[in-house]
């Protein structure tokens, strides 16, 4: 008997509604796409997870021909013992050959995704976002939307970066008011006190928050990707420090 919990199913989390009923939220990530489904029971969530994993597995398999499908249906009708075993397999195999456009898309329309790198598309926090949202509120929202996809250590590191380094400087500003100039000055100050690697991590987290904000339609450009806010790589820094 297999026991499924939130620990062995990645992306599964349990939330309690205000009326006390539990909701099982399952976030699936596949080929750069991410979508969330809410289920009333754990069994439903597991069922969906299994079907989706099977569908992903069968994507690379050759599709059934009409004749094979006919034989398969005949087999299921004649052998009821195998129906419970093979029905989910057949359903997943058929779903794998359907065009992927039929899958529900988690992100917003393409107009909100313009100018985003390929791996950052459709990674908004979802739902309506106030255009005047403060940085610290949006950072929390971004963190909550992404935490299920991260390991505990990544969650801790990102939380620490946000609370110790990003929020004290940008927290009180409106997201749309943060400019490349502000980020450049902040990065210059940080480089005086912290290592290059830590500054790169801070910049990375800040850039991800702004990428999500672009996907949510709050800002139109990412100030962190401005050439003035680029950080030297370790080797470039070595070369600059020791030119000979």
């Amino acid at each position: 008997m297999i026991t499924f919990t939130t620990r062995n199913i990645p992306g599964l989390s349990k939330t309690i509604r205000s009326d006390g009923t539990p909701v099982w939220k399952l976030m699936i990530q596949f080929r750069g796409r991410r979508w969330m489904k809410s289920h009333m029971t754990l069994e439903d969530a597991i069922q969906y997870y299994r079907e989706e994993k099977l569908r992903q597995t069968f994507l690379k398999w050759p599709p059934f021909t009409e004749a094979e499908l006919q034989v398969f249906t005949d087999l299921l009708n004649r052998q009821p013992d195998l129906r419970s075993v093979l029905s989910p397999i057949l359903a997943a195999a058929l779903a794998a050959y359907e065009p992927t456009e039929s899958l529900s898309s988690p992100g917003r329309s393409a107009s909100h995704q313009r100018g985003l790198p390929k791996n950052q598309r459709q990674k908004g926090t979802g739902g309506q976002v106030d255009p005047d949202i403060l940085f610290h509120t949006y950072a929390r929202r971004w963190f909550e939307a992404n935490r299920t996809a991260w390991t505990t250590s990544t969650q801790d590191a990102t939380r620490s970066l946000c609370t110790k380094h990003l929020n004290p400087v940008f927290g009180g500003h409106r997201l749309c008011d943060i400019t490349a100039n502000m980020v450049e000055h902040w990065l210059r100050d940080q480089l005086k006190s912290y290592s290059l690697a830590l500054c790169q991590n801070m910049r990375k987290a800040l850039a991800s928050i702004f990428y999500a904000a672009i996907a949510d339609g709050v800002v139109s450009a990412n100030p962190v990707t401005d050439p003035r806010c680029m950080l030297p790589t370790y080797t470039t820094r070595q070369r600059l420090q020791n030119p000979h």
């Binding site: 008997m1 297999i2 597991i46 997870y49 299994r50 994993k53 099977l54 992903q56 597995t57 690379k60 398999w61 004749a67 094979e68 034989v71 398969f72 005949d74 087999l75 052998q79 013992d81 195998l82 075993v85 989910p88 397999i89």
Partner: protein, 117 residues
């Protein structure tokens, strides 16, 4: 003496050119952060099929294992329906418990050697 080109890694497939001009394909999968070799094959098609079977096997770990009766029924169905024989054969082969061997860390290996000496 000509030196054969270096092995190249592309996803789960490690392509090793051999001295005799042939190529060996090694399939590697990751489980809990540790890489395991699932097999060595002489053609890319065999390696791909082995990898796909392994992925199916991993997914099928989410389902209850087949009972002896169900295994028997699957084998009978594969015999009775030749059109589905390859699919059902792959399925019944993949539907089994996966075991990844425990890999010993170098540190304990050193200790082990010291103990032997």
């Amino acid at each position: 003496m000509s030196i054969p080109p270096k092995p190249t890694r592309r996803g789960p497939f490690l392509t090793i050119p051999l001295q005799n001009g042939t190529t060996r394909f090694v399939v590697l999968v990751s489980y809990k952060g540790v890489e395991h070799t699932i097999g060595k094959y002489s053609t890319q098609a065999e390696a791909t099929a082995a990898y796909q079977n392994h992925l199916l096997s991993r997914t099928l770990q989410l389902f209850e294992p087949l009972t002896a009766d169900q295994k028997q029924h699957l084998q009978t169905a594969a015999r009775d329906y030749p059109a589905l024989a390859s699919f059902l054969g792959r399925l019944s082969l993949a539907w089994q418990q996966l075991h990844y061997p425990n890999k010993r860390a170098n540190k304990s290996y050193t200790k082990h050697k010291e103990h032997i000496q």
